[in-house]
Amino acid sequence: MSMKFQTVERDSIFTRLDFRPKIYMMLVLTVVALIWESPVVQLSLAFLILLACFLSGVKMKFIRTILLIMVPFYVLLLFTHGFFNISQVKTLTGREELTILFSIPQNWFLIGGLNFSLEGFWYGINTIFKTLTIVLVVPLVIFTTDLDNIIVGMVRAKVPYKLAFIFSATLRFFPLLFSEIGMIIQAQRLRGLAMEKMNIIQRVSVYAKVAVPLILGAMVQSQQLEIVLQSKAFSGDPDRTYLHESILSKLDYFVLIFFTVFLIAAFVSWAVWGFGAFSGPTDSILF
């Protein structure tokens, strides 16, 4: 059972950065992704983050898993915005009528007569890539930082030490929990559970049943962890010494300044010229 925290193996600008500028970058990108509503700009930003994840060595398998988990949510978003987000999209585009892509036949039960609009579709695309940016920036920041640096970085950023430790311990236990899920399901297969013959609903119910032993196991482990911590004089007191110094380098300062300028520029250009606004200049190629 490996307890190794998932960190990237490749050296890149992200692994060299201190945790604080990275957290700042995460915050700025999240704020900007929330402000912008243009599908073109959102798509470009998400693509850039994905590229950064790829270049920094975040495992593609991990990103694929995230995308797989998000797909049902994204389909729902697209349908909701395409069919039902009418008034908001009308206000944002300033149009009286929306472009209908297709309609549900009138005789269909309950949903008959609903129209799927082009503008609603693009607004849905905007929300999809908005959430994708916010989700993907997390592994980019977390997986490129050593757990110890996360703790030290958070404490230096005035986060209470106990909270920082709980945060890092949670991250550390994630791979452990996944390996336990694997072990429990393996034990079930060794007792005749034919997963390969199950449909998706049956499989989900298998995973749901795993929750109880998993939680019980996690509780036992968290108690053990607490005993270990106590016997190592851990009290959560931030007044302690640190083996690793967390000193900001020139690169760290550059990143801090860059993202401050980026935030201001993004906000001003959005407010003054509508850059990144839905149906603004950046969306002129779409509708």
């Binding site: 013959k197 004089a233 851990f234």
Partner: protein
């Protein structure tokens, strides 16, 4: 006169919801520089006792605490755990859960940072303690990259770094293979002898405790029954057996000789003393031992070919080659023991029998069918697998549901499920616990729940993977007795273990593995006597085998002896070898 590091006065303790006292009226003093061994059956209160020394009991758990414990003069009730942590270093049983940092140096630094030791001083101490546990140069390694023995030594280094007055180790070797256990014991011994570190270690490893400890305390049902030298404690065999404790084989050999009426002035408890005593005993009489060993008497007749392995190779996704052209045939009705150090490929091999792993190359047939064509669930009803840790195999809310789980999957009728579950629970003596949560049972009983759940499927073959790891002597014997019962019923039994001394009464054939290959495949007597092959995979034969070899050496004649009883059978009342 040496000062006392530990002073325990009439201590009794019970957990918040425990019905009786877990520790009862214990008084003890441990001197500076002493190596104190703590022994006792599972449930005796050893872990509670260890946790009382740094204040975790009662400060963390609560409960009722009577009496007084002082560590280096500090009362454990008056001082917070964080202060006591500076004086008591703790090493726990499980190497996985007690390492919390992401690098070796951070692991060592963690407690020091909490104790507000200046950064420069931490940097000075790290290489020093790493050298003491022979992990120098590994500062930047991730603890997950270390072997089990190295992880425990890192835990010891982390405890040492705070320069404690007392190092407490609670079953530090029970999860380790023999080489890992040896690493830990020799490290602790060196710390004790060279640096004068006071040690308190609880362990089931009787041979090692007899060898290294200055004094031994026997804890039973919370009471300290006896505190004395290893010589006295381990030579009181009736007392040890009464408390379900394992006796070092040297001691049990001489105890058996003594019971035959041969006068033994002092029962030795250490191997070298035993060899010396056996030399003296043999030299008293020139007559050669006439013991006849019938090697074929306990070997089952070969049944049909069950598992056929030919040139099996396995490479893990990370590129590690775990099996190198393994070839092996197992027939129905055999009792096969697979031994070897961690990483020898034992578990990788048997996981192929269950289709949990697929061969990278080579042939693996189960009952004449290519294993690749069978699913895990199909194989499961024929080959039952009991993994090392029972807790990872328990996932139902009641013992009954746990045992009937497989039967529901295999689509048996309600009546059949009822009958088989009841039968299986009965055979394991668990019927009275059928409505209890399996995890609420003691560890030995949890292992029996898992065995019952497997047996309910009526498998023809049962694989026990390290069934005795983490179990005390009684628990180990109970499980192995079940394996023997199943074997007598005609089932094929495969056992993986490091505990060679437990197996002569059970296994017939031994497969010795090392570095992914089969080094030796022979009847147990032949395998156990091939000390060279065993040593090459870091296993040492039981002490009785070594005593037999000593007799062979003196007599210049082969005495293929396996057990203390067999060695004792070489001697008669007239005072020497017959």
């Amino acid at each position: 006169m040496r000062e006392n590091i530990v002073e325990i006065e009439n201590v009794s303790y019970s957990y918040p919801r425990s019905p009786g006292m877990v520790l009862s009226e214990i008084s003890l003093e441990i001197k500076k520089g002493e190596f104190f061994g703590l022994i006792g059956p599972t449930g005796a209160g050893k872990t509670t006792f260890c946790c009382a020394l740094n204040g975790i009991v009662p400060q963390f758990y609560g409960g009722r605490f009577f009496g007084k414990i002082a560590i280096a003069g500090l009362d454990t009730l008056d001082h917070p755990i964080s202060i006591l942590a500076k004086h008591v270093g703790q090493v726990y049983e499980d190497p996985e859960t007690q390492l919390i940092a992401t690098s070796v140096e951070n692991e060592i630094a963690f407690a020091l940072e909490n104790l507000k030791v200046p950064r420069e001083e931490i940097m000075r101490r790290i290489p020093r303690v790493l050298e003491a546990v022979r992990l120098d140069g590994m500062e930047k390694k991730h603890p997950a990259e270390l072997s089990g023995g190295q992880k425990q030594r890192l835990a010891i280094a982390a405890a040492l770094a705070a320069q404690p007055d007392l190092l407490v180790l609670d079953e530090p070797t029970s999860q380790l293979d023999p080489i890992g256990a040896q690493e830990v014991f020799s490290t602790v011994y060196k710390l004790n002898k060279e640096l004068g570190m006071t040690i308190l270690m609880s362990s089931h490893a009787a041979e090692e405790m007899a060898e290294y400890a200055d004094r031994i305390g026997l804890l039973s049902y919370g009471k300290m029954l006896l505190v004395d030298t290893p010589d006295r404690v381990y030579s009181d065999i009736p007392l040890l057996l009464e408390n379900s404790l394992r006796v070092p084989q040297v001691a049990s050999t001489f105890y058996s000789i003594q019971k035959k009426g041969v006068p033994i002035s002092k029962i030795p408890v250490k191997l070298e003393e035993g060899k010396q005593a056996i030399r003296e005993l043999v030299q008293k009489n020139d007559t050669a031992c006439t013991l006849k060993i019938d090697d074929t008497s306990n070997v089952s007749k070969k049944g049909e070919l069950l598992i056929h392995v030919k040139d099996l190779e396995h490479v893990y996704p990370d590129g590690t080659k775990a099996l190198h052209g393994v070839s092996l045939d197992i027939h129905t009705g055999e009792y096969v023991l697979i031994v070897g150090q961690n990483g020898a490929g034992k578990t990788t091999l048997v996981r192929h029998f269950l289709n949990l792993l697929k061969p990278t190359s080579g042939v693996l047939n189960i009952n004449g069918v290519d294993s690749k064509k069978l699913t895990v669930s199909e194989l499961a009803s024929h080959i039952g697998y009991i993994a090392q840790n029972p807790d990872n195999q328990i996932f139902n809310m009641t013992v009954w549901d746990e045992v009937s789980f497989a039967l529901k999957n295999l689509k048996f009728s309600k009546e059949e499920i009822l009958n088989r579950t009841e039968e299986s629970l009965n055979s394991m003596g668990l019927l009275e616990f059928k409505d209890r949560h399996p995890l609420a049972l003691p560890k030995g009983d949890r292992a029996r729940v898992v065995i019952a759940a497997i047996l309910a499927m009526y498998p023809d073959t049962i694989i026990f993977d390290e069934p005795t790891t983490g179990q005390d002597y009684k628990g180990s014997q109970y499980i192995l007795d079940i394996s023997r019962k199943l074997h007598k019923m005609g089932k094929t039994v495969i056992v993986i273990t490091h505990h060679l001394y437990l197996m002569p009464d059970y296994a017939e054939r031994v497969v010795v593995m090392g570095k992914g290959s089969i080094l030796l495949d022979a009847p147990i007597r032949q395998a156990y006597l091939d000390t060279e092959k065993l040593n090459s995979t870091f296993l040492s034969p039981p002490q009785a085998v070594l005593l037999g070899k000593e007799i062979s050496r003196i007599k210049d004649q082969e005495f293929p002896l396996l057990t203390p009883i067999e060695v004792a059978d070489c001697f008669s009342k007239n005072g020497g070898a017959i």
